[in-house]
Symmetry: C2
Subunit: 281 residues, 2 copies
Amino acid sequence: MRLRLDLAYDGGAFHGWAAQPGLRTVQGELESALATVLRVDRVAVTCAGRTDTGVHARGQVAHVDVDEPVLLASAGRSTQPPAAALARRLNGVLQPDVRIRDARQASDAFDARFGALWRRYAYRLVDRAEAVDPLTRNQVVTWGRTLDDAVMNAASERLLGEHDFAAYCKQREGATTVRRLLELRWERTPRGVLEGTVRADAFCHSMVRSLVGALVGVGEGRRGVEWPGEVLAREVRDPRVLVMPPHGLTLEEVAYPADDELAAQAARTRTVRTRTGETHG
Amino acid sequence: MRLRLDLAYDGGAFHGWAAQPGLRTVQGELESALATVLRVDRVAVTCAGRTDTGVHARGQVAHVDVDEPVLLASAGRSTQPPAAALARRLNGVLQPDVRIRDARQASDAFDARFGALWRRYAYRLVDRAEAVDPLTRNQVVTWGRTLDDAVMNAASERLLGEHDFAAYCKQREGATTVRRLLELRWERTPRGVLEGTVRADAFCHSMVRSLVGALVGVGEGRRGVEWPGEVLAREVRDPRVLVMPPHGLTLEEVAYPADDELAAQAARTRTVRTRTGETHG
């Protein structure tokens, strides 16, 4: 039986999503909590966006396969649906910096990683002392120089569409860096935070933080509005592109097609990104 | 020379506003930072809302008197206005959980405490697992039972106006507990947080947290919609009223009259609340 889990975490005290021996990771904590609650030896969880160290998530999605009798046994005498009872028990075992927001039975064709249509991240900065909020300092980067969001938007528009984002990715052997960037824009919130929305079919490693780094160079006036596009076109990493701090980045949402489209979507993605499928922030 | 300081803090690691020997307090940290930056022995800061341990502020206001030559000397060769240069230096000395958002010269009649027209606090709760956000767990209280905001609003309306709030205050010898409650209402944010807005001319000790505690009893269905008003009318503390956890409470805004009304407002307030003037959360 396949379950879909929706979860949120404060990435500040995690060494990213992916399980690593001896380090506190979201996958490690979640798989260990599932094993405890289900009373099994080992559970494997697959997620939509393998966030890096320090990156947050509000809309992370994962899937896990469990034996139905095991799930029913773990629910005990709960009157809730078994998946909801599981979510409640997981939240009792997990630390408060990671929360299961929803758990439900999914179609067997549901694949959190390969089935996703797109991932949406937010990057948040504050560039004025009067807007700095100590209450959100774990998720908004304080920037010492003033940023012009109009020129950042003009530069962002030039990056939209399907490109080889090699210039903005940490290369991995045999992995494609072609991605379709669907949305990239900047807005001031009522509290004066500069919020970037970055949406793509998928992301390669450090892609959002590098894109934002190039755009911040434009916003500060250090680079021209064409520069991030020129870097993109060269398809090689440019050491002048700053990789922004992880704590400004949050995975906000992952979108999936309707159930009857799930299998087709997963097959399409596998064809394009087999053996690679990087979906990092 | 009188300066107005606007500041924000995460109350989580502070033993409240008021300086106490051996404890980390906002007043203590701020006065010590001012003494360092101004190179003087001692500075006395007066604030609008003396928040309790664990209570946050986004819109705290304070005043401080400094000798003009001392301020000018501290600004050094800065090209900023001296008050702005002071804010910048204070932020360099203070820890990141307290930030000066603005500093400017104020009228001699400006009094952060007695001159305020009203204080506005927010109290934030989340009562559904799917809305719990680990990124804001320091400022939103997770509540295990579902709350009906419509009945909470109905109960809140009955508390508005000028009353003796003795039933909702920690009594202090010789201090009046008459306050004018100007606004008390509940709203769901787009992220599903239940946000209470509480605005009054001033507050006595633990007043907001006690009012919210009574209303949560109504929202849970444990108490009738008339109950918080009945408790108020009895003018004595009711042990059944819960004092809510401090980390859900944030001082959001303090309002002052225009400059030519400042002296009259301060005189009015002093007359009503001399020797008391409690303005706690």
